[in-house]
Structures are given as structure tokens and as C-alpha cells.
């Protein structure tokens, strides 16, 4: 179970003078999901392109399903599937034809391709659309087809580069469901994302990269713990009660922060018992609350804490993967 399916060892990629990836290492145990998290331009795509043999690392190497990307790229390609950033389905072919083409290129048996295509179309809710050309598909359908195509040879390792970028929330959740099933079946997944929620939802482990280097790694929980304690958040029903609520709460907490717009009081959390006590006080006081609860830092907060900037504002396109010179200073 814990044999590594993917190992990256000091991957470095230079484009001219630009250092896109600067020594990235990590290990993905078999049957787990690694979220490669970082803003645009962090070097995620370049890292994936190196591991999938599309581009040669300047130095360092990686192993996929035990095969070295430099020594045996052909074996690597036989062991993995890649779903790129853009949904790279052939728009003029039908869903089924897309599957058949890639199956043929894998050298799969024709009978197997027919069977597997039908199963995949069914599994990805594309059975009815299977004989329509992909041009007529919605964004979510294209993504699903793209993923289905990557799975035609049932590769043990799957690389997904921003699989849900540009999808509406519903399609995103549907795709997550499909990915979870794949993992349940034993597939190892590496997915890059700039959506922290996505990494949180899917990944067993997260590697945060920024400006080409790994700046943090761990489980989603570990990462959240790293960026500070949880908060106790009280939301009052009537804005008029805010001042009274603050006065009521102050003796029981170390400090309290007031947000009039959100009708919220925030204080450092001191455990569940503490929260229950505070809730009891409000209950007796007659101040009506909308909500009281503990708020763990989101991965967004983690990201801000780690990088000093929000996930959304990175350098431009990850494809070019370089940062403008001015961006390098923190």
C-alpha cells in the first residue's frame, strides 16, 4: 500500500534565464491523492510536464510507477494517464471516437476498446452523448470525456493538471465524485490545483509550491494547524445587540474582535468546552444568536500565511511558468 507510485527528486527546469521549477521533491504513496497546490506561475504545470515526459528536466528526475522518466520514458508513458489543463479532446470526433483513437494509440485490443469505451461513457454520464461530436459538449462534459480518455488503458497513475478549472460548481463536485471513485479502485492521483477547497476535498497530502519551490507539505489538517489556532465566532441576530454581546463575552475570552458589518464577534478559541460555556452565557442573557461556532483556518488562510499573498494573485500563465523579474522579491 505504501510503495511510492510517484517520486520527484529535485526537479529543476530552466527556461532560458527563468527558473520555472527550482528543486521540487515529493513522494506519492500508491493509492493516494497528492494535491500540488500553488498560484498561477508557481511551476505546477511544468512539474507535471516533466513527470509525464513531455519536457526534460534541467536537472533532477522522477519515477512514475517505478520507472525513471529519463531512463525509461516509454515505460512511464505506459503507466500513466494525463489530463492536461485545457480539455484536450478532439472536437470533431465523437466521444466514442476520441476514446477509440487513444485506445488504438495505446495499442489496445479493438474488442477491449469497444467494451471499455462503453463502460467509461456510462461511468462518466456520457452514454447518451457518446455518438455526438465533442464540439457539442458542455465544458463539464468535455472535462469528463478528457478524463475518460485518460483512463482508457486504466493507468495505475493519473496526472490531472487543474482538472476543474473553468467548471461550474456542480460539474466540479461531480468530477470530484468520479475522482474519489478512481482512488477507491486503487489509482494514484496527482492533481494540481489553485483551488484550495479542491485540495482540501480530494487530497490525502498537499504539497504547496510557490515560485518553483516547495514551501510546505502535509495533510490538509496539518497545514491548517500550522497557520494558527482556531477562532470562536459568534454571530448575533440584531446589530443593536453587538455592544451588549461584546461586554458579555469580554470577561470570558482573552480578546475579542468586533465586526459590525457581519454582526460578528471573534475570539481565540479555547476548546469545545469553552465554546459551550460561552453559548450558555448568551442563552441566559436573552441575546438572540444566529450562530456560534469554531472556525478552523481555511486553506486560503494557510496559503496567505505561507506565501504572504493570496492564491489568486500569482504571475501570469502557468504554461510559461516563469515569473517576471519584479515578482521575485517578497
Amino acid at each position: 500500500m505504501t510503495r511510492p507510485a510517484i517520486e520527484a527528486e529535485g526537479l529543476v527546469k530552466h527556461f532560458g534565464d527563468t527558473v520555472a521549477v527550482d528543486g521540487v521533491s515529493f513522494v506519492v504513496p500508491e493509492g493516494t491523492v497528492l494535491g500540488l497546490l500553488g498560484p498561477n506561475g508557481a511551476g505546477k504545470t511544468t512539474t507535471v510536464r516533466m513527470m509525464t515526459t513531455l519536457t526534460r528536466p534541467t536537472s533532477g528526475t522522477a519515477r512514475v510507477a517505478g520507472h525513471d522518466i529519463l531512463d525509461d520514458p516509454a515505460a512511464v508513458r505506459r503507466s500513466m494517464g494525463l489530463t492536461g489543463q485545457a480539455a484536450t479532446v478532439d472536437e470533431l470526433l465523437t466521444g466514442r471516437e476520441n476514446l477509440r483513437l487513444i485506445g488504438q494509440l495505446y495499442g489496445l485490443d479493438a474488442g477491449y476498446i469497444t467494451r471499455a469505451s462503453a463502460e467509461l461513457l456510462e461511468r462518466f454520464s456520457l452514454a447518451e452523448a457518446g455518438d455526438r461530436i465533442a464540439k457539442t459538449y458542455s465544458g463539464g462534459m468535455r472535462r469528463r470525456l478528457d478524463l475518460a480518455v485518460s483512463l482508457i488503458a486504466t493507468p495505475p497513475v493519473l496526472f490531472l493538471d487543474e482538472p476543474t478549472t473553468g467548471l461550474d460548481p456542480r460539474s466540479r463536485v461531480e468530477l470530484w465524485e468520479v475522482l474519489r471513485e478512481l482512488v477507491k479502485d486503487g489509482t494514484t492521483l496527482l492533481l494540481t490545483t489553485q483551488y484550495l477547497e479542491e485540495a482540501d476535498q480530494l487530497a490525502d497530502n498537499i504539497v504547496v509550491i510557490d515560485r518553483g519551490t516547495v514551501i510546505a507539505e502535509g495533510t490538509p489538517l496539518q497545514l491548517k494547524d500550522r497557520s494558527g489556532a482556531a477562532a470562536l465566532v459568534v454571530t448575533v441576530s440584531h446589530a443593536d445587540d453587538l455592544a451588549a454581546a461584546e461586554a458579555l463575552m469580554r470577561p470570558h475570552v482573552r480578546e475579542v474582535h468586533l465586526d459590525a458589518g457581519a454582526r460578528q464577534l471573534t475570539a481565540p478559541a479555547e476548546g469545545l468546552g469553552h465554546m459551550t460555556r460561552v453559548a450558555g452565557i448568551f442563552d441566559e442573557s436573552g441575546i438572540v444568536l444566529d450562530d456560534i461556532g469554531l472556525k478552523r483556518p481555511s486553506l486560503d488562510d494557510v496559503f496567505l500565511h505561507l506565501t504572504g499573498h493570496r492564491a489568486e494573485d500569482g504571475a501570469e500563465d502557468d504554461q510559461t511558468a516563469g515569473q517576471p523579474a519584479g515578482e521575485v522579491t517578497r
Partner: protein, 274 residues
């Protein structure tokens, strides 16, 4: 962890892989027949336009008249545009990430180019058939034997092969289909017109005539005309290639391929693996 069926991945040859990709390109044509306009309506229109609109004022000494003279020229031009077909298709595939997807598969990376070349050459061949038929309708005939007739077509296809490398080169270098269109129109049109394709060269101004007669397209056109018996007596002072168009055409095909193919492969590699 449940176990799932992992199918056998067989190692296939370059030809099998290329053929799968070429078949996919043919399917594109079937889905979008308008892709064939460039080798059907367009050259037919050119044939008719030149044969009937300009032709009446172009005086040639071919026994069969201007229409017979014209056909080899139009065919040479159409085959030269094979480069266009390759470049547009390749750029679109690169742009949409299709090439990357194929390169991530356990196939020979060259299959993408070979498949594209096969389909483009077939695409251009459709043009040769359409124009031959159009030619027959308007009075063009081959006056030589089967062997020479076939050699004429073979030279045209050989030329198309060389042009495919030009197409791969341009297609790999350009970032969008629009850029390909711009570059190809700006270069291929003057190159295919500044030649003996549509009008005899002997009445061109000296410098222009020199350029036109040394233009590789002119060698091809002249060779095909000779092989089909559509040529006119060489005008006085015709440049050297016009006297030996067949060896010149073969030489050009070899030279262009030898020079451009390595460039094309290098540009394609750095575009895809960079």
C-alpha cells in the same frame, strides 16, 4: 484496495500509430467537408477564372492553347499549398494540446507528424484529381504515354512531400492558425505566381523573368508540362532550369527536404518539449 482489470498495452509500430492519426484527420474532413474547399472549389475557380477571364488575353504557343498550358501551373500551385494544409492542421493540434496528449502516450513522437503528412498528402491529391477532371472538361489532355503521365503526377506528389516539411516547420513555429494563414498567404502567393504557372515568362521584365525561371515552382510546372505534352517551345534566352526541368525538379525536392526537414523537426521538438 480493490484490483481492477489493466489491459495489455501492446507495442505498435510507427506506421500503425501514424495511420491511426491520419484516419483521425480524415474523419475531420468528413465532419467538416468545407476543409476541402481549398482543393476543390478554389482551384476549379482558378482554372475557370484563368481559362476564360484572363486566358483570352494571354497568348501561348501551346498547340492546345492556354487551357492546356494552365493545368500544370494550377496543379503545381495547389500542391505547393499542401504546406498550408499541414501547417494549419499542426498549429491547431499544438494550440489545443492534442499534440501534448499524444506525446504523453506510449507512441513514437514522430507518429504525430507522419500521420499529419499522410493525411495532408491525401488531401492535396484530392485537388489533383478534381483539377484533372476539370481540365478534361475544358479541353486539357495528356498527349504522351502512361509512363510519362504517371511521372508527371509523381513529381507533383514528390513536390507535395517537400512542401509538407515546410508546413511542419511553419506550423511548429507559429502560435495560431491566424498567424499561419498570414505567413503562408504572404509567401506562397507571390512564390506560386511569380513563375511560369499562369503566364509564359518570356515577356516578363528581365529581372522578373530571371527570378521566375529559377523559381522551383517553374521547374516543376515546366517538367509536368513536358511530361504531359502541354509545353510550348522554349523561348529564346530561357534560363538553365527551363531546359532541364525534370532533373531540376527532383533536385529541388531533395534539396528542400534536406534543408527544411531538420529545421522542421528541431522547431517541432523545441515547441513541444520546451
Amino acid at each position: 484496495m480493490s484490483t481492477i482489470e489493466r489491459p495489455e498495452i501492446r507495442t505498435t509500430g510507427l506506421l500503425t500509430q501514424s495511420w491511426a492519426i491520419a484516419r483521425r484527420n480524415f474523419r475531420h474532413i468528413r465532419r467538416m467537408p468545407e476543409m476541402l474547399l481549398d482543393v476543390t472549389i478554389q482551384p476549379v475557380m482558378f482554372v475557370l477564372l484563368f481559362a476564360y477571364v484572363f486566358g483570352s488575353s494571354i497568348d501561348v504557343a501551346t498547340p492546345a492553347g492556354y487551357r492546356a498550358f494552365l493545368l500544370a501551373g494550377i496543379m503545381a500551385q495547389t500542391v505547393a499549398f499542401a504546406s498550408f494544409i499541414v501547417a494549419v492542421g499542426l498549429t491547431a493540434d499544438l494550440d489545443k494540446g492534442i499534440v501534448d496528449r499524444m506525446r504523453s502516450l506510449p507512441i513514437n513522437p514522430a507518429a504525430v507528424l507522419v500521420g499529419r503528412s499522410i493525411s495532408s498528402l491525401a488531401h492535396a491529391s484530392i485537388g489533383l484529381v478534381v483539377m484533372s477532371l476539370t481540365g478534361l472538361v475544358i479541353g486539357w489532355r495528356i498527349h504522351t504515354n502512361v509512363f510519362e503521365a504517371a511521372l508527371g503526377y509523381l513529381l507533383l506528389l514528390g513536390w507535395g512531400f517537400a512542401m509538407i516539411w515546410v508546413g511542419i516547420w511553419v506550423g511548429s513555429a507559429m502560435r495560431s492558425v491566424e498567424a499561419v494563414n498570414g505567413v503562408m498567404f504572404a509567401t506562397m502567393f507571390p512564390i506560386t505566381f511569380l513563375a511560369n504557372t499562369f503566364a509564359p515568362t518570356d515577356r516578363m521584365p528581365t529581372v522578373l523573368r530571371f527570378i521566375a525561371e529559377w523559381n522551383p515552382i517553374s521547374s516543376l510546372t515546366q517538367a509536368v508540362r513536358e511530361l504531359w505534352g502541354n509545353d510550348q517551345p522554349l523561348a529564346e534566352g530561357a534560363a538553365f532550369p527551363m531546359h532541364h526541368p525534370i532533373p531540376f525538379t527532383i533536385g529541388w525536392i531533395i534539396l528542400i527536404t534536406a534543408v527544411v526537414a531538420p529545421l522542421a523537426i528541431r522547431t517541432f521538438r523545441s515547441r513541444t518539449a520546451g
